[in-house]
């Protein structure tokens, strides 16, 4: 470990390389904070700068952009309920209510500390167990990957335990939306009603932007926003959690960082699944699940630790096997290939400087981004003082640009508008926009892996689900799905018994 750190430091702390890392972190935080510019888009936008660098410096630079973008996304998620990147969506659930209460500074502080913590844990995990973990990930076939994505879906029942039926309906609508367009296995058109625009399917990002940002502005149109507390007058000052608060969320941070790293390692999973999974897992494990979604720091800690930990995790298969763990890692891999680097299992063995530069870059970035994010948050928070009659329409315009920039397609703006309107109706009727988005995110991964697994086993469902890893994961899924439904019944029964014995 020490030799990796020393050789990494020799690369990273050269003045020019350090400057690149610093610039990469600034770019990442700013890009990440911009709604609609996802972490992978931030890496893609930074790619032209990397062409002039040596491959080892280029990968360190791109990693810094990637890590910082995920953290930057939390800033707008907390201040405006606009997740800068999809993986920051769960941060809005508790971050925005805190901002509305006048605790935006505290929410930002928790978010930054947890992001740095998650990122660093993942960096150490990457350096320590990179080859071993990637070997486990290689054993994941379609059935195991289906089980992982289904595990993500099984958290649906606790996204809003107040109305499980409506939450499941929302999740199922999200899953149905993911089936629109070309079928992932055979290319058959589904639910297109002859419309060629629908062939490409329902884009995730415009729906997400519409559901979270446009819906919020529409809500404010009928009932103008009231920002309580001191933040409105003084601007947002990032406040780091005290020792007591830090200790109260220590297990949340540790669990979310570990789960986030593991999910990040799995190819095809990634930061979005990691943050949703950890948020809902913590909701289930919490002694006060009713506080989740009302502005509780545990929710922010779970989401931000997990999404940053997933960035480190996604680098494991890239460096050890040449398999990208997600979109951003795929862009980095293509950059390395373009520079003539042979990515694959031999990369870490023959050229260990790649692992050490990525590791040290992640450590340095996770420290730098806390300071840079504080400055960026200050600038973004100034916007809170702007009257909502100006801020509201501006948020919609940012949402429009974010949706349009995805494919340079006006159709995506229309999709965002429809999603925003439906999202408003949904929220008004007590349905869960978060569950719908989760279904949409995981839908295609679930379907394609299940269909592939069934095809491999010639239609034998028992063979698909009896594989050891799949069986364990599916059992966990069933427990997670059923527990919130059974829990009130059990507590009612035990409550009655307790009452009887008391009498």
């Amino acid at each position: 470990m020490l030799d990796i750190l020393i050789s990494g430091a020799q690369i990273i702390f050269q003045p020019l390389t350090f400057l690149f890392i610093l610039c990469g972190t600034c770019l990442g935080v700013v890009f990440g904070a911009m709604p609609g510019v996802s972490a992978s888009m931030a890496v893609a936008l930074a790619l032209p700068f990397a062409y002039s660098m040596s491959p080892v410096v280029a990968i360190a630079f791109l990693v810094s952009v990637y890590c910082a973008a995920i953290t930057g996304g939390g800033v707008t998620a907390i201040l405006f309920k606009i997740p800068g990147t999809p993986s920051n969506a769960p941060t809005t659930f508790d971050g925005y209510p805190m901002a509305q209460r006048g605790e935006a500074g505290k929410a930002l502080g928790v978010s930054l500390v947890c992001s740095a913590f998650g990122g660093m844990i993942a960096a150490f995990a990457m350096a320590l167990i990179s080859p071993q973990l990637s070997a486990v990930a290689l054993k994941f076939g379609p059935s195991e990957l289906f089980a992982v994505s289904f595990l993500g879906l099984s958290v649906l029942t606790c996204l809003d335990s107040g109305n499980i039926v409506k939450t499941i309906i929302s999740g199922l609508i999200g899953l149905w939306l993911s089936t629109i367009g070309m079928d992932p296995m055979l290319g058959l058109a589904r639910f297109t009603w002859g419309n060629s625009t629908l062939l490409g399917g329902v884009e995730m990002i415009p729906v997400m932007i519409g559901m979270f940002a446009v819906t919020e502005v529409l809500k404010e149109t009928t009932k103008p926003r009231v920002m309580n507390g001191s933040d409105k007058q003084t601007g947002v000052k990032t406040t780091f959690p005290g020792v007591k608060e830090f200790l109260s969320i220590k297990w949340v941070m540790i669990r979310a960082s570990i789960i986030g790293t593991i999910v990040g390692i799995l190819p095809g999973a990634g930061a979005t699944i990691a943050s949703f999974l950890c948020y809902t897992t913590e909701n289930k494990l919490s002694k006060h699940p009713e506080k989740f979604g009302t502005g509780c720091i545990d929710g922010i800690a779970a989401s931000e630790c997990a999404n940053n930990a997933a960035t480190g995790g996604s680098m494991v298969p890239l460096l050890s096997l040449g398999i990208p763990g997600g979109n951003a890692a795929a862009i980095m891999m293509s950059a390395l290939v373009m520079m003539g680097v042979q990515v694959g299992p031999l990369l870490v063995r023959t050229q260990p400087e790649y692992l050490s530069s990525v590791f040290t870059s992640m450590l340095v970035t996770n420290i730098l981004m806390v300071v840079i994010s504080m400055l960026v948050a200050k600038i973004f928070a100034k916007i809170l003082a702007v009257p909502y009659s100006i801020l509201g329409p501006t948020i919609i315009m940012l949402a429009v640009i974010g949706s349009y920039a995805l494919n340079n397609n006006v159709g995506d703006v229309m999709l965002m508008t429809i999603a925003g309107t439906i999202g408003y109706l949904f929220v008004k009727q007590g349905f869960s926009a978060a569950a719908l988005v989760l279904g949409l995110v995981l839908g295609q991964m679930c379907e394609s892996n299940l269909r592939r697994a069934i095809k491999i086993e010639n239609g034998n469902l028992l063979a698909v689900f009896s594989k050891p890893i799949t069986a364990v994961l599916m059992t966990a899924c069933i427990i997670m799905l059923v527990y919130p439904v059974v829990k009130p019944i059990i507590s009612r029964k035990f409550g009655k018994k307790a009452n009887v014995s008391a009498v």
Binding site: T222, G392, P393, A405, V410
Partner: protein, 166 residues
């Protein structure tokens, strides 16, 4: 009858139709695989089941629904004249105009219209803010990040190209 009941009933009708539509429009799949139509059918069957459960729950609680949540003509009238409905229309108009007249004119028009809707009474403030915000967004995204913005058609396209060349 409540709005919630109507909303759920409409969803039930739509998703039941989708269940049969997908079965009718795709070829039947082999026994050894999960076909392209079967995964959506599983989801839709579950969805229909859950919607029926939800509708039964709503019907059971129908008597306790307050009068203001009951669906009636005055409620509908109120909705169509509400700020919310006008806001939705403005956003839809923006989505349509974006492709026709381009980013800059549609952004300015939208910002003025929506800020007035949200209560900004001074028209010159709306106008100045709209122009400044449009300029900032254009410089930041087009010039700074090289993100393409809609150019519009005809004369608007020429205008957009002229601005981009500056």
């Amino acid at each position: 009858m409540t709005i919630e009941l109507v909303f759920n009933a409409l969803m039930l009708i739509f998703f039941s139709y989708c269940y049969f539509y997908i079965g009718a429009t795709l070829p039947p799949s082999a026994n050894t695989e999960l076909g392209a139509e079967q995964w959506p059918q599983i989801i839709l069957a579950l969805l229909v089941l859950m919607l029926i459960i939800n509708i039964v729950k709503i019907v059971k609680n129908l008597k306790t629904v307050p009068a203001e949540k009951q669906l009636n003509v005055s409620l509908l009238k109120g909705f169509f004249t509400s700020k919310l409905f006008i806001g939705i229309i403005i956003v839809f108009v923006l989505a349509v105009l974006l492709g026709k007249i381009g980013f800059i004119p549609s952004c300015i028009l939208f910002l003025i219209a929506y800020s007035r809707l949200l209560g900004e009474k001074r028209w010159y403030i709306s106008l100045i803010c709209a122009v400044v915000i449009t300029a900032i967004l254009f410089i930041l995204f087009y010039k700074g990040l090289s993100i393409m913005l809609p150019r519009g058609e005809g004369i608007f396209r020429t205008f957009a190209l002229l601005l981009e060349s500056i």
